[in-house]
Structure formats: C-alpha cells, structure tokens
Symmetry: C2
Subunit: 599 residues, 2 copies
C-alpha cells in the first residue's frame, strides 16, 4: 500500500485561496464560524489520524475482509479500535448543531475530513459515514423525543446506523418498494421485508445499529407516493435509554464484492420488526430526497479520495522505478536507467491524475460551501446556492466518480505489471473506487436527474445560474492577457453548453427518448466544462500569487498553472467528443429491435 | 457467471463475409487450406468445449484461485481434467506445420478458437497458451534435435511451457536482464537468476514444463545486444526422451493478483539450472521479437474475448431486469416496470459494448489473416501483409485491450450495484481484463513502438500502407450514396491522420520528447480510425446482403448497419479528442519539475 500523506497544502489552497473560507464562514449565520486556526487544527488532526491510524489498516482490511457467521459480522482486525479512537475524538458530531449536542460547524468543515479518511482507508471511513444517515434524517424529521432517544449515542459513536432502501427487485426504481409496515396499537409499526446492499447492516463495532428503513404502510398509495420512513433499532431502547430487547431483524448474509471488502454489505431481513415513523406517513421519499444531495456529494468525494491515493502511489513509484532512458538523453547517467517520471507518457498519466483529482477536489469543496450557504447564508445568496447545488450535484457525483475510476486505473497503469498485484495496493484502489459510479444513483441516474429534472424541468433556468456564473467570470477577465489561454476556450464551451441544451430540448419536445439518449454524454460534457471553469479560477489565483511571489512557494503555484494548461490542452478536448455524442440523437440507440442485439 | 454462448454467427460473418476466408485460404501455399466445412467443424467443436467444459469452471476458478505450498502450485478444481480433454482433442497442434507433427492449418484458424476459449474462461485458456511460447520459439530457432526432444510432447499437451523474461528490476527495459548463463563443458549452460510474473511457471496440470528463458552469457555485451534465449526444462529429458533428473529451478511464490486468479503467476528461481541455447548466442531478442506480433495479437484478442462475455452478460440482464418505465410510455404494461433495455442510456452502454467488441473482432481476425499471408502468401502480398501487420499490431494490442476494459466496466455498469458483487460474474470480467493493458507491453510501450519505431522510423512509409488502403476503399465507394454516411467522415479522418503525423514529425525533429508526448493519444486515434474503416466495410457487406435479402437474416444485417451508424455517431467523435491531445505537444508534460508534482 502506498504511504498516504494528507495533501494539506492543496486542501488549504482550495479552501483558503480559491474558495476564501474565512470570508465564506464570516457570511454564515446560525452556526459556528470556524477560524482559520480552528480549520487548520481540524485538518492537522484528521490528517494524522488518517495517516497513522487507519491507512495502516487499509490493505489488511481488504485481505481479511468481513466475515459472516450465523447472523454475526466480524469486521477486519483493528477497525473497531480505530473507530473507538475516532469517536472519542468527537468527529461524529462535527457538523451537527450545538443545540442538538454537536459542535455546530458548517457542513463543509466535514468535507476535508471525509476526503482524508477516505483516501487512507475508504472501507473503514464508511463506518463513520454510516451514522450520518440516521443523524441527518433525525435532524431533518425526527420528533424531539426521537432525537433525545437516538442522537446522543449516535453522536458519541456508541451507535451507528444504516439507510435501508434497496430491495432485490428494486434499486433505482424506489417506487417498487415492497417492505410493509403495519400499525401497532402503541403507535409503532411492524416492519417486514428484505433489504439488500445495506452497508453496515450488521457489524461488531458499535453497541447498537439504528436502521432507517423505507417501507409502505398498509393501504398506502402505490409507487413513490406511498413510501414512509422508519427508525428501526437493532436493539430496542427503553424509556430510560437503556438497551431493551433485540428487535426482530437479522442479517442473512454479506455480499462478496469486488472491493471495499472491509465494509460489510448486508442482506437484512425485517420480520415484523418494531419501527417508529419518521416525519409524516407517506412522506418518506421527501425526507430522503432532501438529504440526497449530501449523500451524492459524499460519493463524489470518494472519487477525490481514491484519486488522490492513486496519484500519490503512482508518483512515488514513477520517481523510484528505473526503466529505460529518456528520449532526450540520460537523466540519471550514474544509474542503470532513468526514473520513469522522465518519460513523457508517464507524465501524461500523472498529470491526468493530478488535473482530475485537484479539479474534482475544487468542485466538491465548492459545492460543500454552497451547502453551508444554502442553509446558513443570507436569503438571496442561499437561494442562489440552492439553485447551483441542485444543478451541480448530479454533475459532481457522475463526473468525480467516473474520472476517479479513471485515475485509479491510471495508478495501476503507471506501475505496469506491478500494478496488477496486491503488494503495491494500486489494484485495491481500482476495485474500491469502482462502486462509486453505482451507489447513491448510477451515472445514468444522475444524468437523467440533471438533464431531465433539473435542466429541462426548469426550462433552462437552473442551467442559466451556472452558465451565467461562468459567463461573468469570463467577462471579468476579458482582456486579461495572461488569462486569455483559459478564458477564450472556456467562453466558447460555455456558449456551446447553451446551444447543446437548446438543441436537445427542441428534439425532446418531439421524442422524450432524446433526454435519456443524450443524458450521460451531456453530463460528462458539463463536468469537463465546470472543471475548466475551476481550473481557470485556480490559474487566476496562481497568477496572482506568482505576481506577489507569495511565501516563496513559486513552485507550487507554477505547478497549478502548468496543470491548468495540461487540463485545457489534453483533457478538455474530451468535452467536444461528449457534445457530439450527446447531440447525435436517439435514433441510433432506439432503432435496433431488442431481438437483434445478438445473434 | 453469465451463460456464455459462442457467437458463431458473428464469427462466421467476420471470417466468411467480411474477410472472405475461402478465397484467403485458397491463396496460401505451404500450409493446409481449410475448407469452409472444416472451419465450421472447428468453430462448432471449440464453441461446445468453451460453453460446456470450461465456462462452468470460470467462477469457481476465480473463487478458489491457485494455491502455493512449498514450491508446488495447485490449480483450481477441474482445470487439469479440462486441459486433458482439450489436449486429447489435438487443439495444441492446430496451427503447427504437418512436417513438425501438427495439423498444418494457418495461424488464423486458431484465432476464433482462442476467442471462444478466452471468453469462456480466460484464466484456463492461458494454460493452453503457455505451451505456445516454447512451441513457437522451437519452430523459429530450435535445432532438429531440440525439436525432436520437446515438440511432440508439447503438441500432445503432455507438457506445457513458459516465457521467462521479466525480472524484479526490469520489465519493459529488457536490456537490463541480469540472469546469467555460464557455459558447461557439455555444451549446455548453467542458468542463474530470478524471473517474475511467469504465467504457469509451476502448475499441476502437465508432467513437465519447458521454460524458455532470456539470460546473459558470461562476457556478453551489455544491453539488448547481449541477451540469449535458452530452453530450460523443469525435468531434464534423457536421450531416449524419458524423464530425467529434476532441474535446479524452483517456484518461490505465486502473486496475489487482481484477477486471472485461476492462472498461477510465479516467481521463478534458476539456481545453475541446465539450459540449452536456442539459436545463436546473443540472438535471443531477435528470436523473441519475431514472435512478438503473435503474442500481442493474442492479447488484443483478450479484449475481444472478455468484451464479448461482458456484452452477453449485460444484454441478458438488460432484457430481464425490470426497473422504471420507458420515457415514451410503458413497454411492459402488464409487469411492475419495463425491462431496462428500453432505456436509451442502457442501450447506449450495450451498443458501445457491441460496436467495440465486434469492431475489435474484425480487426484482430483481419490481422490474423495478414499473419497467414505474410508467411504463406504470394511474395508481393506477403510483403504488403507484413507491412500492414507491423503497423497495425501495436494499434490492435493497445486499442482492443483499452476498449476491452471499458466494455467489461460497462458490463458492471449495466448491472448497477449487482455488477459489483461476485454473484453475476461481471466484476470478475473487469478484474480479469485489466491485465491486458499491461502485459506483452503496456499501452505506452505499444504506442512508442507504433509512433517511434514504425511510423517515424519508416519515414511514414508503413503508415502509407494503411492510409493508402483506407483511401482506396473510400475512392472505390465515392458516389455510392448508401455508403456516403460512412465514407465522408472516414475519408476526412484518414486525411487528418496524415496531417497529424506530419505535424508531430516536424516537432519531433526539434525535440525527441514529442514522440512520447503524443504516442498514446496518437495510437488511440489510429485505433478509432481503423475501426471506422472496418465498420464501413462491415456496413458495405450488410448493405449488399440486405439488397439480396440474404438467407432471410435481414435482422442480423440491419443490426450491423445500425451498429456501424452508432459507432460513427457516438464513438468516433473520440478520435478528434485524441487527435487534439496528441497534437498538443510535449510542453505541458515536460514543463513541471519533478519536485513540483505534489506539495
């Protein structure tokens, strides 16, 4: 496993220099406002924990995996102790309001922490994440009594939780949920059904597991309108908060997965289990959808986390591995060969990793700030942030996970054959990252949400928020000669984005299949353009810093500028390929009768 | 694991209708000329063996893997018996000259067999492939006595073999080989050194293993000029052919790999092992390189094999899985939801798989015919075939393995979360296919070979063979209205190929790094253009067949035509993105000092 080093310099660049964290937090109300010193202490502390405590458990966690026996799940050695240390550190409550017993920091403060933990050991980091579903759902819709019963011990890390949505016959199509809820005389419900793909459905790390379960109350309408949300604890909690009887639910099996083997993915059986309604009857999906942006951003962040780990591994190897001579003459004449980082194609791979990972980091951290602003900003800014988030979240989820997978695969490629064996940890990163394009809504589902619900559903209004922002950035830098290499192509692509949307919209009025036909290529196009916008902004910051010769770190800023140029020259041309595919229309997709796909 | 079905209809289309096998074989001399009936019998028989004998061992082979204990390797249950059945069928000798005890069929006859076996169980199929290295090297450079000693039992399948090239410190850079050979008094050599990544270096399937080993004879020149090739049997063979003493070599470990777990990848220690020189002293790499095209084509074929298996799995699932309604109205109103194949984005994924896999099949089978022609064709055609092969082989290796990996990843994606778990076999295909971009020369190595050695090394002459062929095809169909949708973009891209090459060549005269900087994007560009050429040819065949309403199979031919259109509309735009990246130059790659890659 490569030695992971928390990329604090780049995170600080994104938070402070690009996104001006100090000004951002000063603008918020109704939450704690972290000072730069506090942010720094959080980053330092999370970085050390990631590097020293959980990174060393990443390979052993993958090799050992989770084991299932008679309803019990054993997680890899060391996971439980590391979680206890993490919980003692108070990390679970970082972004929970002080009134609810948390530390009250804005949501974005958890983003860097999430990145660091995820790079070091994604499987382990999911355990911490598992409490977030019930915490957030309780905060969003729990009664005072429900919050009092469950929140304190979720926040302390004594308990964790799950989100139980998927069933064997229904994943993306939530309206097909069959799990039943029958009203009990005492106001609780008896929940019966089978849920699959439940991360942490059973584990040996916390004393109790607070499941949140989507189910249909007897007599509820069909489809998505009849789904309610329930809190279903593994161990029932007595009035005084002490542990009661075991609930009638069980883990039937764990999945044998491609990766994330340290995180148990469970089949859960609910056999008349006692559940408590969260919010209104039949209002389950509304609550869920309100929190979906957070979950999607968390998954986009997985792309950044795993990309950073793969980039670091590949870079270390490229500096050490001696193989062949530079085409422009030996660079290591005393050695038997040159380090492979001298070869332009190895640099192409490393710079692709760097440009996509740092660009995706900027995107996800920006959206995390928008989450803060949408909840705690001044009214007008909050509305604007909400609009941007609604459009940019599916783009970030799709783009950062797809490119995150590409980056981990490049990590394998830089190692040559050595990338394919377990020893160096690169193949694990590839396996672990592959899930991110699937869970929390596949790339296809994100893309339908973006193009169908958001872009077309708002008649282009939501899109105008984003293209308007990019347009204003371009206009502001019009005539700025050092920025011209970025502004000119960015302005052209931003313009093309509008035209592409209009063209698809026109066709979609005649044939609704046009939306699905264009959606994924449209979303990836959008991703490349949004990253181009962020790379232009980062180039701008770097140019300013270089003009001031800021803190003697010219190398760092020159690297930013070179990476921005690399992104524009070598990766951004993909945007046009996606645009051409997106505008190709539905005909070539729909023309083939199903029976003719294979003979 | 998806049920594998040998795609005989498409293979026949490629061999007979696209590549006119009957005429091709009639033109050859110095080999057997298979009749259509014989070819068909071979396909049928190999298809049944693949479907019924080895496909059922694919998942269990992955789960069980190979086990190592004290120098011995145990392969998965059933592998040995299946290989015995395969060997009894005479498959190992299919393309070996009759004078050497084989069946004398041209090399291309083995291609379809290789595809079928590889789709069904790639790990298993490597065992059969392992005898090919010593067989081919003996045929190319063995003395009469060496051939008499080793060939019969390699052809019978009693023995298998290996190719021992890589060492811990040297993979692509063969000139760094350290394994030593010391002359013995009897004319043999004592071989000492460690080789890694040796497929089948030790196994429990055959009685003996004939290693072929690259080593440096004492006093030989450094670098690639001083490398010799040796036959090093695991068990020495007495004069009368009976088994002699065990040689002083051993398997020290097997690698724990991402995939292909049924095929043992061994660390081999040679401790003064007795070896016999193949060919001339210091001539080892010449012999190896003569056979390298075959090995690369075999790896390109892996992309086709695994792509076909992933496509079949995804297609079956897309027909069965019910999830959400078609945007243009229910297609399965009686059911709870529509099969996901109605959704345009699912079709986009399936058609991407289909277009890349069938296109790559056409490419590899075409190159296999060129191998026949280069050895057994009339002189002028043989020279032309050799020129085409020399240019097209690195393109095929790079393109078919990169897109093969994309196709297996799409297979996972069509399954959603179910693609990530072992049960459906899709994640295994992804893991198994990832190695193909690495072994037999990484994509980067193929690309340097293509652009540096072949294209620039011949001052564009080799390239002119390919672009000339495409140009003639376009000219021939000039004014053919039904073909215009293909011919116009193809002619433009073919033209651009020349211009792109000239632009890179001009820059490379000033800076040799320009070759490496452009190489991989150049190669993928070339791959997309060559596939466009083949899809245009396939469309032409389909149009002809539809005009004749051939054999009532209009659906098959219409599907070919639709897939060609899909390829041109949705995948070919990637060519332009690669061209733009390839012409972006070395500056953005080389500008960054090594220390600035990460802060």
């Amino acid at each position: 496993m490569p030695d992971y080093r928390a990329p604090l310099r780049d995170i600080r660049f994104v938070m402070h220099e690009l996104l001006q964290a100090e000004r951002h937090y000063r603008n918020l109300h109704g939450c704690e406002k972290p000072t730069p010193d506090l942010l720094d202490a959080i980053l330092q502390s999370a970085g050390k924990f990631a590097e020293n405590v959980i990174a060393p458990l990443n390979r052993s966690g993958d090799e050992q995996g989770c084991r299932y026996h008679a309803g019990r799940v054993t997680t890899p050695d060391g996971f439980r102790a590391a979680f206890a240390e993490y919980a003692r550190g108070g990390w679970q409550a970082l972004s929970v309001p002080t009134a609810e017993g948390g530390q009250g920091l804005p949501a974005s403060c958890s983003t860097a922490v999430g990145e660091l933990l995820g790079s070091a050991n994604y499987a382990w980091s999911m355990i911490g994440g598992l409490a977030q579903a019930p915490i957030n759902l309780l905060l969003a819709a729990g009664s005072a009594r429900q919050k009092a019963t469950y929140l304190p011990r979720l926040l302390s890390g004594d308990w964790a939780g799950t989100m139980c949505l998927t069933e064997p016959h229904c994943g993306s199509d939530v309206g097909l949920v069959r799990t039943r809820a029958v009203r009990n005389a005492d106001g609780s419900y008896a929940i019966s059904g089978t849920k699959i793909f439940i991360s942490g459905g059973e584990q040996d790390i916390t004393e109790n597991i607070i499941h949140t379960v989507l189910a249909r109350i007897e007599g509820a309408p069909g489809g998505t309108a009849g789904i309610s949300l329930f809190v279903v604890p593994k161990i029932l909690v007595a009035e005084d908060g002490s542990p009661g009887a075991a609930n009638t639910l069980s883990c039937g099996a764990i999945e044998n997965k491609m990766g994330l083997k340290g995180s148990p993915t469970c089949v859960m059986h609910f056999d008349g289990a006692t559940g408590f309604l969260l919010g209104e009857e039949n209002g389950g999906l509304d609550i869920m959808f309100r929190l979906m942006n957070t979950a999607r951003l968390g998954t986009a962040l997985q792309g950044v986390s795993m990309g950073e780990a793969a980039f670091q591994g590949a870079l270390d190897y490229a500096r050490e591995r001696l193989q062949m001579r530079s085409l422009s003459g030996p660079k290591n004449p005393a050695g038997p060969a040159d380090p492979i980082i001298v070869h332009p194609d190895v640099r192409r791979m490393l710079l692709t990793q760097k440009a996509l990972t740092e660009g995706s980091r900027a995107l996800v951290y920006w959206l995390a700030q928008l989450v803060d602003t949408s909840s705690h900003g001044p009214a007008q800014e909050a509305a604007q942030a909400g609009a941007l988030l609604s459009l940019l979240t599916p783009i970030a989820k799709a783009f950062c996970t797809e490119t995150g997978f590409e980056v981990t695969s490049l990590g394998v490629q830089v190692f040559g054959g050595h990338g394919y064996i377990r020893e160096h940890g690169m193949e694990q990163l590839l396996r672990d990252s592959r899930i991110a394009m699937l869970y929390e809504g596949t790339t296809g589902i994100q893309s339908l949400d973006l193009l169908g619900r958001k872009v077309m559903g708002s008649q282009g209004k939501l899109l105008a928020h984003v293209t308007g922002l990019i347009h204003r950035f371009c206009t502001t830098h019009d005539g700025h000669s050092a920025m011209a290499e970025f502004i000119e192509p960015l302005a052209a692509l931003n313009c093309q984005w509008g035209e592409l949307t209009t063209a698809i919209g026109t066709r979609a009025r005649r044939d609704p299949e046009e939306i699905g036909a264009a959606s994924v290529d449209y979303t990836l196009y959008a991703g490349y353009v949004v990253l181009a916008y962020l790379w232009a902004r980062m180039a701008r910051v770097a140019l300013q810093a270089l003009a001031q010769d800021d803190a003697g770190e010219a190398g760092f800023y020159r690297a930013k500028l070179t990476t921005a140029r690399f992104y524009y020259a070598r990766l951004l041309p993909r945007a046009t390929a996606h645009a051409r595919a997106a505008e190709a229309g539905a005909d070539t997709l729909m023309a083939m009768p199903e029976r003719d796909f294979w003979y």
